[in-house]
């Protein structure tokens, strides 16, 4: 069985409206974030991966399974959708338990798995209450528990941190990391870029139904040639360093950091720049730190998508 999620030339049109177009991806295990503005196609892509909608063109395989074979697919996949609706009249426990009974599990196994998932989502106290009375955050957590309850190897989460308080967000991020560390795929869509940056092993940037970039943030950033790399240097004599750097060929722009304790450099050849900086540092300059200043999702997003759309 292929341990990958693959999409080959996948397109989805809603009548004449484009959902996603010519998407070809190969998603390895780990945490992958789908990033893009409203209408970029994140949810469409997730619904396609789970067979809730069918591609107009192309083929999708999730660990080798076709998406129109739910009996195989959903043994391996758990999907936490954005749909904030539940079967009526159920408690949190019943919601998970009845879902597990649909797998054909015995009552005992379903009960055991349901409680395990409820514990992981930190919902034990509220499990016997009706879902209709839950807060938004609790509903989100019970949906996460449902996605996790059968211990899938692929976890697809559409805006999973929405409605959660900071503590719950941190707990969930730890949970996602622990799932990913077991060699599973965790695919997340999120609009909170610093969280995406913090948790993602790789990102897929979407805009207007097209994949704009994919891969690890650093690699994606390096691919963006038209925007020089930004480097933040902290040192004891920033003005002196600035006067030396401005003469370098690799430096496109040198700016004092607003706090006056460092420099922001833009360069088109970061590797060469680092070598030169090492030489300068040997001449009595005390460099405290050197770090990329735009090697994150936020910057990559800004460079690639810019102001085309506000983040969802």
């Amino acid at each position: 069985m292929t341990p990958e999620i693959t999409l080959e030339n996948v397109s989805k049109f809603y009548g004449e409206v484009l959902g996603v177009n010519r998407v070809s991806l190969s998603i390895p295990p780990g945490i992958t974030s789908l990033v893009g503005p409203n209408g970029a196609g994140k949810t469409t892509l997730m619904n396609l991966m789970t067979g809730l909608i069918r591609p107009t063109r192309g083929e999708i395989r999730i660990l080798g399974h076709r998406t129109d074979e739910p009996e195989q697919l959903f043994k391996a996949v758990g999907y936490c959708t954005q749909y904030d609706s539940f079967p009526k009249g159920l408690t949190g426990y019943q919601f998970i338990n009845l879902y597990l009974r649909l797998f054909g599990y015995t009552a005992r196994l379903a009960d055991e798995l349901a409680w395990r998932a409820i514990e992981r989502a930190n919902m034990v106290d509220a499990a016997s209450r009706k879902v209709a009375g839950y807060s938004k955050g609790m509903r989100q957590r019970i949906r996460l528990a449902q996605a996790l309850c059968h211990e899938p190897r692929v976890l697809i989460l559409d805006e999973p941190l929405n409605g959660l308080d900071p503590l719950a967000r941190a707990e969930m991020i730890v949970l996602f990391r622990s799932v990913a560390s077991q060699g599973c795929h965790v695919i997340i869509s999120s609009h909170i870029l610093h969280e995406v940056d913090m948790i993602s092993d790789q990102v897929i940037l979407l805009s207007n139904g097209y994949v704009v970039a994919e891969g690890q943030i650093h690699d994606v950033r390096n691919e963006i040639q038209e925007h020089p790399a930004q480097i933040l240097i902290r040192c004891n004599r920033p003005r002196e360093l600035a006067s030396k750097l401005i003469e370098l060929e690799q430096a496109v722009e040198v700016r004092m950091h607003p706090d006056g304790l460092g420099l922001l450099i833009k360069t088109r050849d970061a590797d060469q720049f680092y070598l030169t900086l090492n030489r300068l540092a040997q001449n009595g300059l005390e460099v405290e730190s050197v770090a990329p200043a735009d090697d994150d999702v936020n910057s990559v997003y800004e460079y690639l998508i810019g102001n085309e759309g506000a983040l969802s």
Binding site: R54, P70, F74, L102
Partner: protein, 365 residues
């Protein structure tokens, strides 16, 4: 069928049955099922009162009367002859009329006498002391009642109550979940879509069968309530009453099987339930006028043949209406039962293709 499929079907039935029985949007189905029960219950209460009135009337006779005594009264008999045969009447009405117009001086005396033997009731009309007319009315007989029941069952209960009840139950199985935006709950489980459809169909069938066969049973009980216990006993156990009752229950079940499959399919194919409901209703109503081949793609075609009592068309009824009422070409019970099941399976089979290709797109609902 694998054991896992059975377990999945049972899980779906468990989830759906509760929802179907207690759905707020399905309350009217109960009302629809209760309507004929109320009708027959009302009938039973009225008939019961009439029977008691006859018994009370009979108890006031000077002497016990038989049916022959009552039937022996004929036009032309005098008041004295009537009293001689039946005794003094317990109930009499009398009024005078000026004979041959308003200026006439002749006064005609009108009398009405009532007698009863406890079951039959005799009305005697007299003018000037002579019998001019009699009406011998009996209580409701089982024969008449069974005919009335057959008419209500075929032309209201099957064609309208069960029909629209099944529409309400089965169309909601998928349509209702799309409106509630909760269908994805099922579509994200490792269950084949056709197995899911089978589970939902069976859940709907359980609910519809319980509601409508209970209603049928209550209608029969209500009808039997007003009947003399001895006559009822004879009809049930020595006549064909018991078999007829079971037939009606079986036909109700088959109607749920048949209409259920149609409306489950309609719920997958149409957003608006009015169009398919009107379409199927017209198709079923037109059934007697369709070519033989098309008649078979219908539920009422088979159910009509299974009805134990045929409703006769009155003489003088328009031929088209008579054709609608009668069943000139009944088929045998085994073929009719197999026919309903085959048509239902065919419809479900076609629906399974639709459900396999179904997408979740709540924004378009």
């Amino acid at each position: 069928m694998t054991p896992v499929w059975w377990a999945q079907i049972i899980a779906v039935i468990r989830l759906e049955t509760k929802k179907t029985f207690f759905a707020k949007r399905g309350l009217w189905v109960y009302l629809l099922a209760l309507m004929p029960v109320v009708l027959f219950l009302g009938h039973a209460i009225v008939v019961g009162h009439q029977n008691q009135a006859r018994v009370r009337l009979a108890s006031k006779n000077e002497r016990p009367l038989t049916h022959q005594d009552l039937a022996g009264i004929a036009n032309g008999m005098t008041r004295q002859e009537v009293i001689q045969r039946l005794g003094k009447t317990p109930v009499a009405y009398s009024w005078d009329e000026r004979g041959d117009g308003p200026n006439s001086s002749r006064i005609v005396v009108h009398d009405t006498y009532e007698y009863s033997d406890g079951v039959f009731e005799l009305y005697i009309r007299m003018e000037g002391g002579k019998v001019t007319g009699t009406t011998l009315g009996d209580g409701e007989t089982l024969g008449e009642d069974s005919m009335v029941f057959a008419g209500v069952f075929q032309f209201f209960y099957l064609r309208l109550a069960v029909f629209f009840g099944c529409l309400g139950i089965f169309m909601n199985l998928f349509r209702g979940e799309l409106l509630d935006k909760s269908l994805h709950f099922y579509f994200l489980a490792p269950i084949r879509r056709d197995i899911l459809m089978a589970g939902k169909y069976l859940a709907g069938l359980v609910a519809a069968t319980v509601i409508f066969t209970t209603s049928t049973a209550l209608q029969i009980i209500a009808l039997a309530w007003s009947v003399d216990p001895n006559a009822l006993n004879a009809y049930l156990y020595h006549g064909h009453g018991f078999a007829d009752g079971l037939s009606y229950l079986g036909i109700t079940l088959l109607a749920c099987v048949g209409y259920g499959s149609f409306f489950l399919a309609a719920g997958l194919l149409f957003r608006n339930p009015i169009l398919p409901a009107a379409g199927v209703l017209i198709w079923e109503a037109l059934n007697p006028f369709l070519p033989a081949v098309l008649q078979k793609i219908s539920i009422i075609y088979y159910l009509k043949s299974l009805c134990p009592v045929e409703v006769p068309a009155d003489p003088g009824t328009h031929p088209l209406v008579a054709l609608f009422i009668s069943n000139p070409d009944p088929i045998s019970a085994p073929i009719a039962i197999a026919g309903v099941i085959m048509v239902s399976l065919l419809v479900l089979f076609v629906s399974s293709f639709k459900v396999r290709r179904m997408e979740i797109n709540y924004t378009t609902e």
